[in-house]
Symmetry: C2
Subunit: 393 residues, 2 copies
Amino acid sequence: MKVTSFTPPVRTLMGPGPSDVPARVLAAMARPTIGHLDPAFVSMMDEIKHLLQYAFQTKNALTIPVSAPGSAGMEACFANLVEPGDKVIVCVNGVFGVRMQENVERGGGVAVTVEDAWGEPVDPDKLEVALRTNRDAKIVAFVHAETSTGVQSDAKTLVEIAHRHGCLTIVDAVTSLGGSPLAVDEWSLDAVYAGSQKCLSCAPGLAPVSFNERAVERIKARKTKVQSWFLDLNLVMGYWGGGKRAYHHTAPINALYGLHEALVMLREEGLENAWARHRRMHLALRAGIEAMGLKFLVREGARLPQLNAVLVPEGVDEAQLRQRLLEEYHLEIGAGLGALAGKIIRIGLMGHSASMKNVMYCLGALESVLGEMRAPVQTGVAMNAAQNAAVLN
Amino acid sequence: MKVTSFTPPVRTLMGPGPSDVPARVLAAMARPTIGHLDPAFVSMMDEIKHLLQYAFQTKNALTIPVSAPGSAGMEACFANLVEPGDKVIVCVNGVFGVRMQENVERGGGVAVTVEDAWGEPVDPDKLEVALRTNRDAKIVAFVHAETSTGVQSDAKTLVEIAHRHGCLTIVDAVTSLGGSPLAVDEWSLDAVYAGSQKCLSCAPGLAPVSFNERAVERIKARKTKVQSWFLDLNLVMGYWGGGKRAYHHTAPINALYGLHEALVMLREEGLENAWARHRRMHLALRAGIEAMGLKFLVREGARLPQLNAVLVPEGVDEAQLRQRLLEEYHLEIGAGLGALAGKIIRIGLMGHSASMKNVMYCLGALESVLGEMRAPVQTGVAMNAAQNAAVLN
């Protein structure tokens, strides 16, 4: 095998993440590598913590990026907060709820699931019932923004219920961070994790997490050691915390340059403005999608602006549709997962990808390919509808 | 706090890693992000596997980069191969042996340590004795190249002993990969892990690992699930393996572009040439160090070319020495760890940092700062000695 330097194709990324990474973030990752204990790097770590606090809307001191992808951020929460034998109520309404359950069980915890249909938000009443019948539960875990279905759950209400029953909460905000309202302190989320490659528009590979005082106390009071040395926050805090930094692992320096730049850009735009932009682009996309006669999986009111699950029209081979979009338009959209495979496509409007240019490009490409596939859709109408919606909203 | 874009200082990295990252690798990381299931990315993954097989000198199919730093590579080996109750012989002669022991115990295994002094290689006779008195041991773990002391152990011999007693082996090659001879297949190493930021001269954040057939069989035959979902190789193989790729986690796309480029560069130079270059630069540095009257921690014959532990001369404040090198020369060298803190400095000659320019720069800066600190060293002689050694070797 003869291998030469790799030049990736230039795609438009409108799947479930990664999203388009802006040139400023790409350039930041190419800056000269320095040491993970260099004073200049340590200052930058402080800035990242500060910027992440802004993005999460929290004052939590333990607000850091885990040096690995979002899945490891999830694992950091469960591995640190769940001890063997602990009962955890896991709300499952998509792929990532299932993964949470796996995390609980692999760590020796007992998972009790509260099930909702994929495409529905988590039902607070079901959680209430589960907590009444499981009075020994210690933690409630749920996904704020289910990337697999495009559904948003009411984090504030779910956390209130959990707290009323004396439980800590672990919240998956992988897809919500930076894309739709998330208020860690105001909603009293105890532990929350996210990913760099969704609405922050950074390259994949980092998992911002935030833990409040109660969660930190729980970690410090563990009777057993965290099973993962790499993710043990007692140790990670020694590196990311204040004062003298102890070597734990070698941080992914250049990836963190990228995250820093992405967060500076978020700050420049303003968090509320970023949320409003995601919302506006969603309304434009929705107008175009509906003008074509296509339908959403999720009912209005529970839809995530940044992840649009659209039902595949009758007779259309979903895999072929995505393949043609990728090959003919260099446009990536997402497939359905699990039971939704083949039934939905997932159109991401995350971070830098949430732009009018992308909305228009995607609608035009969809119309064109679906038209050629003789799908039962209206063509030649979507872009105009989107334009009108953008003007109105 | 007002935060703006981060511009790192340009350092010369001659510590224990990260090493200097060449411009080609930095540029690769700034290429446009694409999706982790994009056919173009999947082809690149195959190339990375192929290039890593070359770097490790193995045909092992399971040869991949773990999506996290070297510490997670270590954890991937232990979490997958050790089941609760398994007895593991851990050879400890530095920081990373201690960390291996932690990994065994956190995973529910029973660690039996074979101790050697920090600065000494692992003693094969002690391992033999330990295996005779622990006939139920299932795994032997040791560090091939101890980054904390600069000592090299005889991997081939240690693995032979382990195999004679029916044990699998886990080998830490974080600092050896690409810098000094490592022959995974010829030496029959069963599981081996490394890091991207040492002799491969890539940015930190990825951990190349390789498992042979016997190790893979052991993983597949586990009675218990791997405690870490993120590091479960049964799942990771579904993404990195051949055939249809199943989504597991979102790979760190841009970091992998960098690793790909670093491996292409290694292939262009040739592995043996890279080893010889590290050796030649070590001999040049050694000549300069010894001309100054300084001494190595490790006896000749057990020294790693890529990590030089030098005893701090009498009366010199080691922290101040490093600080001055960093501030006045933008030169990073490493501190001693654990019991060696304050007693040694660690000079890395890893990957791109193993160049005559760096050797000369480091020697000149050391002479200058040590001279000003009135250390008992000979000055004005090191660079000439290094030059002569380089010509001779």
